[in-house]
Structure formats: C-alpha cells, structure tokens
C-alpha cells in the first residue's frame, strides 16, 4: 500500500432540514470538500458514498445521483451501508482504492436524513428476526440497549450518574468553542442529572439526538497532492471491525448474549481500533486526541477503555481528572461530539474525519488541541459494526 493523504474535507451543517433533500445536503458537502482540496469535480477518479436508508431507491444509490448533480464523468461509484459506521467505512474503502494504486484520488461521502425522534424499526414484520422482535415484543429502543449496558458498568465499576453527566458537560464545553456545533451551550452536571429520564439510568442529555447532515473527504495519493492546493494530512491507518464470538454485550438489535464473555465488550469496536493501530504501527499511547461515537454518556466512557486509552473501569477517573478536556492528556471529542451535533447516522464518521483534519492542520481555532500530531476517530454501528481511522501530520 502506498502513502495517501486526506487533501480536502467538507460538510453541510448538522440540523433538521425539512425543506431540503438528502441530495441537497450531500452536494454541499461535496462542493465544500472540493473547494477545501483545491480540486475540480473532474479531478475525482472514484466515489464511495454511504447509503441513505430513509431515502427510497435513490437513497440506495446516492453516489450515482450525486455524480449526476456534479456532472457525470463515468467514474467507479460504490455505495455502502454499515449502519452507523457507514461513513467511516466509506472512508476506508476510498482509502483502499487510492492506497492500492487503483486510482489516484477518491472521494468518500456520507449523507443522511432521518425521521424526527428516536430511530424507528425498518423493514417488513418478521417474527423470526430479533431486530423486529425487540420492537414488537417489548418496544426496546436503542437507548434502552445502551442503558442496560450502562447499568452493567455502574454495577461493575461504580460509575455514577454524575460521571454520566460529566461526559455531557465535557463535550458541551468543547462545543461552545466550535462554530459548527449545533448545540452551543455549556451544561451543568445538575442540568444533566435533572433532565427527563428517557431510558434509566440514561437521561435526555445523556443521549445524542438524531439530526440530518452530510460530510465528505477526498483522499489523494501522496505524490499527487502537490497538484492541489489543499493541505494534506496523512492517513496512518484505517480499521473495520465486526464482532467476536463470545462478546457479552447485549448487541443493539439482538435479544440474547453470553452472560460471561470470552471476548471484550463492544468487540467490533475493539477490533476496528486494533486494526487501525496495527496498520499505523502505533498504539493508543501515541494518539493526541480522539473523536469517539458518544451516542450516549455510556459510550463516551466505554470507548476510552475499548479503544485502549485506559484499563477497564478507568475512564471515570480520566473524566474526573479532566484528562479528556482540550489541554488534558487525551482530549476527547474536541469538536463537541455527537452530543453537540446530533447524529446524522450515515454521515457522522466523515464529520469526525473533518475534525481530525482541521485539528491536524492547526486550523481548529479556539478548540485547537495543542501540538496535535496524531488524531483518531471511531464510529460504531448496531448489529456488529465499527470503523476507525488514524490520521497524522
């Protein structure tokens, strides 16, 4: 594999846009990434797009549709879906297309519009599918799964509701420094702990909202980056993980799990992070800052352990000691994270990549992580998906 770099990133703001289509959002992200790279659309030699599952047939073919809007050039287009890990998975495929030498440039794009409120069930009724039965037989929502894993953690390690609140507060303190964040308000621990219960022990402000958005990144072979004006940031490693047999997590969408695990919890994320470390030839101790998928306060804490930044049960202490703040030992979600943007499912991973690039270029303004040289991002998806990326300058 040859050395490649991210040469441009772009996004459409996160929010709810009922007067727009997902295509409108995607085109803005594509154009902003091109502008950032100093490229024309005709410089793009391949395209990888995440699917838009609430977008009908066009949503299952968004790459070709985006190409039509940008002007069709006959390039190879791949559309992929790995649940909430879709955008980072698209990034990995784009990386492989360029790193393998097949193409010199490739754009990865994720675009998403979802219904208001908690994400609902998809597909036809099927009494044989656990993903149907969990809704049908007990109305078990996504936050309900996270809440049960969160309580396991509280029992095992003594994590408190105040720790859960602190994770939200930490992200909110970063968000006010980021002009692009959707929710720019510093929360107090009391506000979080007094917010309405949703799926106890998780409260409203412990859970990220679903929002619409789009983001794109352009990958370029290192030797061709000089042709363009965008400031290249090297791709050190990418990882894609699925679950390990014996993972004791009650995996989102499932109805049973091993009681005693023979594998780490969230094993898909454990594996994607290890793969990214292996390819980069570095370890968690070499990471200067990280964007984790903070779908809930539980994820924020658990991923610090799953990704190897501390031992089991030690994330609470990292948070207590302020290690996860900008200026701390390992700034976590300097962008403000999903808790400050909301989650646009199929786009979130590329928003994280855009944050890594912005930080590593030293262009993050008030939220700049000092001396940021190596950044990592990870997104996880239900039913056993996770993807990770490590960039360096």
């Amino acid at each position: 594999m040859r050395q490649v770099a991210v040469i441009g990133v772009g996004a459409h703001p996160w929010g709810k846009f009922e007067d727009k289509t997902f295509l409108d959002l995607g085109v803005v992200a594509v154009r902003n990434a091109l502008k950032d790279a100093g490229m024309e659309w005709t410089d793009i030699q391949a395209l990888v797009s995440g699917l838009v599952v609430f977008g009908g047939n066009t949503g299952f073919n968004p790459g070709q549709t985006l190409a039509a809007v940008m002007g069709e050039t006959g390039i190879p287009v791949t559309n992929i879906w790995n649940m909430c890990a879709t955008a980072t998975s698209a990034f990995r495929t784009a990386y492989n297309i360029v790193a393998s030498g097949e193409r010199d440039t490739c754009m990865a794009v994720g675009l998403d519009m979802s219904p208001r409120g908690f994400l609902p069930a998809l597909g036809a009724p099927d009494d044989r599918q656990s993903e149907y039965l969990r809704w049908r037989m007990m109305g078990l929502s996504n936050p309900g799964y996270w809440a049960m894993e969160c309580r396991k953690r509280m029992i095992k390690y003594g994590t408190t509701e105040r720790h859960l609140a602190k994770a939200k507060v930490a992200c909110s303190k970063h968000a006010v420094l980021n002009p692009a964040a959707l929710y720019k308000k510093i929360y107090t621990e009391e506000e979080v702990m007094n917010s309405p219960a949703v799926c106890e022990p998780l409260r409203l402000y412990n859970i990220c909202a679903t929002r619409d958005g789009a983001a794109a990144a352009i990958i370029c072979s290192m030797e061709k980056t000089k042709k363009f004006t965008g400031k290249p940031i090297k791709v050190a490693g990418v990882g894609l993980g699925s679950s390990l047999y014996g993972d004791p997590t009650l995996r989102l969408g499932y109805l049973s799990c091993p009681t005693e695990g023979t594998a780490p919890i969230l094993s898909e994320s454990y594996m994607s992070a290890r793969m990214a470390y292996d390819l980069a030839g570095i370890g968690p101790e070499d990471i200067d800052f990280v964007e984790v998928p903070d779908n809930s306060s539980w994820h924020y804490l658990q991923y610090l352990e799953t990704m190897g930044f501390c031992g089991p049960g030690e994330a609470d202490r990292m948070l207590d000691e302020g290690q996860t703040m900008i200026g701390g030992k390992l700034p976590v979600c300097p962008s403000g994270g999903a808790s400050s943007f909301g989650e646009a499912v199929a786009a979130q991973g590329l928003l994280q990549v855009a944050e890594l690039v912005t930080q590593l270029r030293g262009e993050a303004g008030d939220r700049q992580v000092d001396n940021a040289k190596v950044g990592m991002a990870q997104t996880y998806g239900m039913l056993g998906n996770s993807a990770a990326v490590i960039l360096n300058r």
Binding site: G117, F118, P120, A121, P125, D127, R128, Q129, S130, Y132, L133, R134, W135, R136, M137, M138, G139, L140, S141, G144, A147, M148, E149, R151, K152, I155, P196, A197, V198, C199, E200, P201, L202, Y245, L250, Y254, L255, S256, C257, P258, T259, E260
Partner: protein, 149 residues
C-alpha cells in the same frame, strides 16, 4: 356468526414462546456441535469454524436479573402501545444455559427491582387493540409472586 364476547389472546409474534402452556418457555436454538445457545431460534450463532446443525431448545423459565432499564416513552410501531402508557422496565435475565435474554419486567414496582433477584418467565398481555384483542408477550416476574387471577 357468533358474537365474540371474550377478548381474544394473540401472541404478538409466532414461534417465539410455547403457547398456550401452563409453563411457557422461550424457544431458542442450540448448536449440536459447538453448543452455542441463542435466542431467538432463527438467529444462529456458532463458534468459529463450527458448521454444526442447530436445533430448537426451550430455555429455562427462571433466571437472575443482570441489568435493566426503565423506558419512559413508547416506541413507535411495530410496538403496540399500551393505553394508558406508563414507564416500564425491560431487563436482561441470565439463565443457567449461560446466556442472558431481554424481556419486560412485571409483577413489581419499578422501585422494587433489584439486580440479582430471581425471576420467572410468564406470558402476559402487552396491550390490546381497538377490537379488544389482547397481544401477548413474554415477561419476567419475581419468583415469589403468585398469579393474582
């Protein structure tokens, strides 16, 4: 046609639990070779490299509460929203087979839920539709409690 004067009891999904039964059980699956056990029946797991046949297995009716959540809102369909809706508990129950299964908790106040408590499976009404049909699901209740009926 005779008038229906009794509420009809309908499992909200078929093939998931034994019904009607005095001692209903969840219908899981098990691999004959590697012994992997899973629920529901049609989501098989195997140890890596095992290509064994799976078979139906009826799961233990009793277990211990490993974790739970109190969900404060009603999920959209295909969940059938009970009227009136009140916050309800869903638990993760560890069985002697070595797996834990999810299910609603019943027969106690949410304040009385204790991790480690012994629970047993029952089939109970989840909600009813406009015609008075009762939709049934599996739930777990404290072992010490007897049916009120």
């Amino acid at each position: 046609m005779r008038a229906v004067d009794e509420n009809k009891q309908i499992p909200a999904a078929k093939g998931v639990f034994t019904w009607p039964s005095d001692n209903p059980q969840l219908i899981g699956g098990k691999c004959r070779e590697c012994g992997a056990i899973f629920f529901p029946r049609y989501l098989p797991f195997h140890k890596p490299n095992c290509q064994g046949q799976t078979e139906e297995v009826l799961l233990s009716r009793r277990g211990k509460l490993e974790s739970f959540t109190i969900q404060h809102y009603a999920s959209p369909p295909p969940f059938i929203k009970p009227e009136p809706f009140v916050p309800y508990a869903v638990g993760l129950i560890s069985l002697q087979e070595g797996i834990s299964v999810a299910g609603m908790l019943t027969g106690m106040k949410t304040d009385d839920i204790q991790i480690g408590m012994e629970l047993e499976l029952i089939i109970e009404k989840m909600a009813e539709d406009q015609d008075g049909n009762e939709y049934l699901t599996w739930k777990f209740r404290p072992v010490s409690k007897q049916p009120h009926e």
